[in-house]
Symmetry: C2
Subunit: 452 residues, 2 copies
Amino acid sequence: MELHDLIARLPDGAVLTDSDLLESYRQDWARDPDAGTPLAVVRATSTDDVAATLRFAHEHTIPVVPRGAGSGLSGGATAVDGGIVLSTERMRTISVDPVTRTAIVQPGLLNAEVKRAVAEQGLWYPPDPSSFEICSIGGNAATNAGGLCCVKYGVTTDYVLGMEVVLADGTVVRLGGPRLKDSAGLSLTKLFVGSEGTLGVITELTLRLLPAQPPQSTVVASFATLSAATEAILGITGALRPSMLEFMDAVAINAVEDELRMGLDRKAAGLLVARSDAPGEFARHEAEIMVAVCEKVGATEVFHTEDPEEGEAFTAARRFAIPAVEKLGSLLLEDVGVPLPRLGDMINGVASIAERNEVIISVIAHAGDGNTHPLIVHDPADAAMTERAHTAFGEIMDLAIALGGTITGEHGVGRLKKAWLPDQLGPDVMALTRRIKDALDPHGILNPGSIL
Amino acid sequence: MELHDLIARLPDGAVLTDSDLLESYRQDWARDPDAGTPLAVVRATSTDDVAATLRFAHEHTIPVVPRGAGSGLSGGATAVDGGIVLSTERMRTISVDPVTRTAIVQPGLLNAEVKRAVAEQGLWYPPDPSSFEICSIGGNAATNAGGLCCVKYGVTTDYVLGMEVVLADGTVVRLGGPRLKDSAGLSLTKLFVGSEGTLGVITELTLRLLPAQPPQSTVVASFATLSAATEAILGITGALRPSMLEFMDAVAINAVEDELRMGLDRKAAGLLVARSDAPGEFARHEAEIMVAVCEKVGATEVFHTEDPEEGEAFTAARRFAIPAVEKLGSLLLEDVGVPLPRLGDMINGVASIAERNEVIISVIAHAGDGNTHPLIVHDPADAAMTERAHTAFGEIMDLAIALGGTITGEHGVGRLKKAWLPDQLGPDVMALTRRIKDALDPHGILNPGSIL
């Protein structure tokens, strides 16, 4: 094989071929059982390394799977047989410009590292996937990642002003820049955000930042019925814009309480954690409105705190729901979203799907923006149960589409969800997608099998 | 000609061919002297009309120039000889969903009409081009229009969650939808925003809305030097996020004062109008911070009001700057943007360009986001002066590019600026743009000559 040619083009140690090392780059957190074995892993240290790798792959028509931190949940970084896994984990510089309130970051930095670096200048990068301590900013851009703050602050694309991206043939282009307004030419920056490595490899991002977030007030409310909980969600979003509005069902509440012992109401059908970051006393004022909404719809318990640490503890409890529920068995992690008025239909529909397929499905949700994460519990040693779990996985996406929703709110399509994408988008949008893919990656070497 | 075939496919009266009527659709506000004469104008009443027109144009390879309200300033709706002008002015429905805080609008509604319709439900559509009373929401999406509030609230693309768009061959597709989070497939919605009618014709938009804007506090400050004014701009944006931060130079101040007689400081080199919409007393608090910044850098006059009507009067004065300066002569209207720290270099550079070319150039600016509108005054009857004005027009774009900026912040490239686009984007990004254009419009019938 011509691999020696690739090795010669890159810095010492950039190319891994040892089979043990390759093994650890075959899958992301989706643990795709159909993952292939790559020819090599390239750990790029620079844009030049990425460009050299893509030029090589282009010349030899070798598939390239771009990879950030490998924390993806849709199999967007699943390796393919005979391909190259191109990791950006070593590209980790950042420079912050407090005057234009922007940061220029390389893709390998973790989301949390970006947040910390800009916080040192009194600034804030809002998007906050639950995995923010372990996911990379490059992966966030590639999947248009969301998080808990999105209900008020939007998603990754809303913070990407520009980028450097390497195209399929190794050409390096710069798109956009540190300008809030720019109508010059097509919105190419936005096209690459969320393209999951199928159109190019992002080697640098120009991010828009906000001033530091004010201290948040926090409301925690328990409900005896799911319908009361969803009524409270619509009541809150109708009254104001919370900075966070998260939901956990009974399974998640009990799983978290088993681990953290923080006094959550184990008898509740649903729990909301809602926050306000309105300035000064307005945070308390908004929290009081949220308390009133919850009480009006018959919440069984409502708790309200101005203490940021206490509020953060409840937020962390919500973030901890996935690992807590994982104690019950292996998880298939869903990411469906619906327009807010259909949230109750989605949650009730998932309960029916669980019952019909005889599997436990715990629902947690970024409730304020209609993005739910049904967690399908199963035992991989039980083949019949695993098959039922996969059936439920598909039925939940079918339900989301039927409710006018999306099969993925923030994780991306990757390989795990691509079979459902045509049902959501329809043949004409799929054809449009294919035309753009073919125009930008005519040899089809970039992340083949992902999205399309 | 086969025009009878087009007429037969569309409702009675949809196709205009009378030469007087055609004349009024040849140009937009850019008044492009090279505008052609169209074969026909189609005033579509529905998506079906748009699709039928594009199918016809596709079959016969006839150019189609999509047109909103015709208020564009870059010649994006300049007619071409033998083509069809496809106007969406008659597509004017809107439905507002206060629960998901979204609106579904047809492209022909004016921006102001959208604002008023959502305001009836206590909601707010932020983007506010100065032309908001006469520009269409479809045109806003096609150019990724900005405005005065963008310094805090972003531009049109930040509010477009989905759309229906008719492709070059007449295929109708729906992209995105009323979901704040959606990572399913490529970000096609965002690609069509800002594409200036070169990739498809937008027939419906799903817009994200915010709760009604709180009352604003307003600060008006005059400065004896341009450097003091730019120092104040950077001081304000470094301290907080104003909801508006606008600049006028001496020419604009005097032109406005000539018309409105509101007591502006005629001796000032620059005037800032800044606003805060922070909740409750925080608006006053932020206004006081802005006052302090202005005083610290030596403002000659600083005025502060909590009265919304008085604040609106100063905002209206700023919006009135373009018609006021137009009393001095015909205008070439620029729209260049630079990263905020280069704003002073931009303003000083424009003064040099004016002096060198012996033309008056008045600078007004959405100062808080670095987007300036140099207004080049000239007398069209004076050929030599007109030529110098056009030279200055180009030199201002060259300067913006040299300062790391953009040739258009919010008006779009259209026909007037396309000669400069390659200088800003470079050959590789132009080639990338061409590949996408060719993939989506292989016969090149959509707004030919615009952008590319």
